[in-house]
């Protein structure tokens, strides 16, 4: 038995450490722990601020899934104050959300995840001519652009503008550059990886060269996917919003207006580009690599996804009156709110449990435990709802080593700044995979009787990929490969959601409605003395919830449960492992001190560790020092 530490885990947002005990003879992971190693205290900073500013503060929880925390904050404040945003603002916010989904997923795949699968060293062995042939073959075999709804085709884009440069000359040029880098000895971002790991040999050299080339293409094109943030919010990362809608007024009378026909043209172009990059780069590459892995029988890493997943859903098609009153879920285009258990048995045998608006405020549904987190609850409490959350730090240090230099953390006691969120006392996995499982089961079991175009597309995508791979959905979805694949499919839906909301925006402007903000309740004098609200959405990494209590015009309490809190959490009271740990324990490690499979599994969640919550108790008393909750999207 060998205990292996990976710290820092890189190509993620934030600071994460994992420790695994590997049986070297079988490669089986006997135990695993995941630890968030930083705490920033954003919620404490948000306290006592003006609720109209709080979106800007909490947006800084994360710059990778930028804007998702702002959106959750705006929704929580608007839910508390009973503000219904105008139609145009809803369309624009949804577009900003969906373009971020595409961007975040594609950057994750190429820049944060790809180097677990492909290697520049292997790319040197490739034949550029054969790579060009492979590129064509991949586009022929894995082109799933036909899954997109016909009526969401762009009416303006005459032809796809961005295609892979699939010729031998191009691949030779990229290969020459990679060769120079390798020979220079200055490997830069490619330094010090376990390039000799046998998993890199699973794919032919031409796949490596193709993927490395696309790494560069996407690196240079990704920014144009989030152009809607720059048009509607002025910048990216961290675009601007306002409580009550959007600040970007619409006028066809003035070039000084934030939004007019010329500005919409930039958004239009960006949406078409996003579709091209997803359809001609991301999905074909993903499916080609995934197919080779599935063929090789590498479908491990399912972990908690097999047992239990949770999602919130979202993308309200129409403006809604509130979230805790349930209207948000009614208007959602993706009604993924709910929990699915035992999907590993297939959709017929899986169990679905609903999660409605009022449940979000109910401690019987959502709560957080601290059995293995560096905290204490008062009065022997073991589990608290986020709105009642208390944080009293109880840092106990590592099991061995010192606070200045940890050796091993204590898996029997406390070992993370991340709390353990639970649904009815049980751990859940969240993320695109969870969202797909919930929607798939809801539609197949008839819980959703009239699927929206987006829900139908999600089911069609899963069935189409199952056909390509030749295995049933629950087999390939509940795995590291499936988690990565679901993210790619989600990007395709998101690109079409952008087109959908863009079309709706244009249609609505055509009727003469250019309103983007309702400022009747912008003045704090119009607010109740006390109010509380919740904001939810499925961010790129899964279900994100913000809870806000407003008192006397200021933020009295602010709490978030973010996707990475769900996934990276330590063990629950019931002894159940969180999703990262369950994934590691469901993963076979070939070489104990080069645990590439562990990295691949952890990266399949797209970790985002930036944040911390629960900084003060329910009376609002400041607690001097604190905890960390994994952060993000």
């Amino acid at each position: 038995m060998k205990r292996v530490v990976v710290d820092p885990v890189t190509r993620i947002e934030g600071h994460l450490r994992v420790e695994v005990s590997v049986d070297e003879s079988t490669g089986k992971v006997q135990d695993a722990l995941s630890s968030g190693t930083a705490w920033r205290g954003i919620e404490l900073v948000a306290k006592n601020r003006d609720p109209r500013d709080v979106w800007a503060f909490v947006q800084r929880i994360c710059g990778v899934c930028t804007s998702t925390h702002a959106l959750a904050a705006l929704r929580a404040v608007e839910d508390a104050l009973g503000i219904q945003i105008p139609k145009n603002a809803n369309y624009i916010r949804n577009m900003m959300h969906s373009c971020l989904d595409v961007h975040d997923h594609i950057v994750h795949f190429y820049h944060l995840h790809a180097l677990d699968w492909v290697s520049p060293v292997e790319a040197l062995k490739a034949d550029p001519k054969k790579t060009a042939e492979l590129q064509q073959q991949v586009l022929d075999t894995y082109n799933v652009s036909g899954l997109q709804p016909n009526d969401l085709e762009s009416s303006t884009s005459a032809y796809p503008k961005e295609f892979p440069k699939g010729n031998a000359t191009y691949y030779a040029a990229v290969q020459t550059k990679v060769k120079k880098i390798v020979e220079s000895g200055q490997l830069g971002i490619f330094s010090a990886q376990w390039w000799d790991h046998p998993d890199y040999q699973l794919l032919p050299p031409e796949v490596h060269l193709m993927a490395i080339s696309h790494y560069l293409t996407i690196l240079d094109r990704q920014r144009d996917i989030v152009t809607p943030h720059v048009i509607f919010g002025g910048k990216n990362p961290h675009p601007h919003y306002i409580v009550g809608g959007m600040p970007c007024s619409i006028s066809m009378d003035d070039m000084n207006a934030p939004v007019n026909a010329a500005r919409l043209a930039s958004v239009d172009e960006s949406i078409s580009l996003a579709k091209d990059l997803v359809n001609y780069f991301y999905l074909p590459d993903l499916l080609a690599i995934g197919h080779l892995y599935v063929k090789a029988g590498m479908v491990d890493g399912g972990g908690l996804a097999k047992k239990r997943v949770l999602a919130y859903g979202g993308y309200p098609d129409d403006t809604f009156t509130g979230i805790s009153n349930g209207d948000y879920f009614k208007k959602a285009l993706v009604r993924a709110n709910g929990v699915v258990e035992n999907f590993e048995l297939g959709w017929e045998k899986a169990t679905f449990t609903a999660l409605e608006g009022e449940d979000l405020m109910n401690p019987d549904f959502l709560s957080e435990e601290i059995n293995h987190s560096w905290f204490e609850y008062p009065n022997g409490e073991t589990s608290l709802h986020p709105t009642e959350g208390v944080t009293k730090p109880a840092f106990t240090g590592p099991k061995t080593g010192t606070n200045k230099k940890w050796e091993f953390l204590d898996e029997e006691k406390k070992y993370s700044w991340i709390k353990s969120p639970t649904f009815k006392g049980k751990a859940c996995e969240v993320g695109p995979l969870a969202k797909y499982i919930v929607v798939y089961v809801k539609v197949k079991q008839g819980v959703i009787k009239d699927p929206t175009w987006a829900e139908k597309m999600m089911v069609d995508q899963i069935d189409a990929v199952s056909k390509v791979l030749g295995v049933p959905a629950h087999v390939w979805l509940c795995s590291t490969v499936g988690r990565t694949a679901a993210r790619g499919l989600d990007a395709q839906v998101a690109a079409n959601l952008s087109q959908h909301f863009y079309n709706r925006l244009v249609e609505n402007i055509k009727t003469g409605d250019t309103v983007v903000a309702d400022t009747r309740k912008f003045d704090p004098n119009t607010w109740p003395k006390e109010a509380k609200g919740v904001g939810v959405l499925d961010a790129p990494r899964g279900g994100l919830g913000h809870w806000c209590v407003i008192k006397d015009g200021r933020v009295d309490n602010y709490q978030c449960i973010v996707p990475t809190t769900w996934n990276a959490c330590p063990k629950t009271i019931a002894g159940e492992h969180g999703a990262y740990e369950a994934n590691m324990m469901d993963t076979k490690v070939k070489i104990a001190d080069k645990p590439l499979e562990i990295l691949k599994g952890i990266h399949s969640f797209d970790p985002c560790l930036a944040c911390a919550t629960h900084l003060y108790n329910k009376k609002g008393e400041k607690i001097v020092s604190v905890n960390t909750d994994a952060l993000c999207k």
Partner: protein, 400 residues
Amino acid sequence: MCITLICIDAIKLLQERGFFVKESLNSLWNLFQERKLSRRTFMKSCVALTAILGLPPALTNKVVAAAETKELPTVIWLHGHECTGCDESFIRSTSPFASDVILNMIALEYDDTLAAASGEPFEHHLHHLLESKKGKYVLAVEGGVPLDENGSYCQVGGRPFVDVLKECAEGAAFIIEYGSCAAWGGIQAAKPNPTNTVSVSSIVKGKKIIKVPGCPPIPEVMTGVIMHYALFGEIPPLDVEGRPKQFYGNRIHDTCYRRPFFDSGLFVEHFDDDASKAGWCLYKVGCRGPETYNSCGNLRWWNGLSYPIQSGHGCIGCSEKGFWDNDNFYQRLPHIHTPNTITDVDTLGTVAGFGAFGAVIAHGGITLAKHKYDSIQEEKKYLAEQEAKQKEAEQKGSDQ
């Protein structure tokens, strides 16, 4: 003959690529290899080159060494208390492209966000760099430095971030503080600063530090600092705060396309009112442009596409020290001279620093706005005259 030609090329190359600075971007030996020339030819050229440069023959070895060096500047990029928004902004750069920066301008040898490697080999690589590149590497830091609990609020590789930072700063040629967290402490240092987070320069002393604030900074400002170094072989000129003058020399107010409206007294009163649709000045709904030094007004985001004000929201001052505690963001800034109450001309340029108004007065802006107003009036007058003439002509026609 051949050698002479190559030497001329070589001198050009050395001049262009910075033979006379510490780090050169490509090597003469590399060039020779590309042209399939032998090592012997290379050595001969170096001897000739030494003479052409007017250097004593004893220095030939140094010329050879310089000509062989093809190192890119090694960059070590650390992450403290941050959100990775600065990394994200960095890769949004398109001039230069992020790919060109990380493959051709620098060797990004240690960066949590983009590096392939993790864990022990990655930390081992860092320590190798600290020794082998001592005094030569560039240290880029993203994020603030938490000090409470002995730095345990941010552990990297099992060690407090503050310890890692100090260790890495020691051998750095210079340091770049990327973003407002590294430069000022940032969001986590806002009241009540629960972790007692401070800027990098509060911890590291005696080093050249370039501040590149912003939450995040504009992509081309981040890569612009590297570009300047790549082009000229030296760090860009800095202001008293340590910020590159070319990017932080103006207030957004002074470069804002909506400035003429400020000067004309034309303001947005409420979000989405008619003035918002016409793109008037956002000062009354809280814009921090008058006290924020940044390139949003001239360089803008996405190579000129927009910036927060152009998208209808006031600037929140994200590149200024302590801006988070200058809330709420919709409260009009006090002490800003509003239009038609222009400061005495003699005070021009005497008031400096953020939070104060007066460095640049509205003169140009007023002129612009008045010009626009006058043009409209002139156009109206012209159209009226034309109409009158036409009527007159029609009148004449009908008379005849």
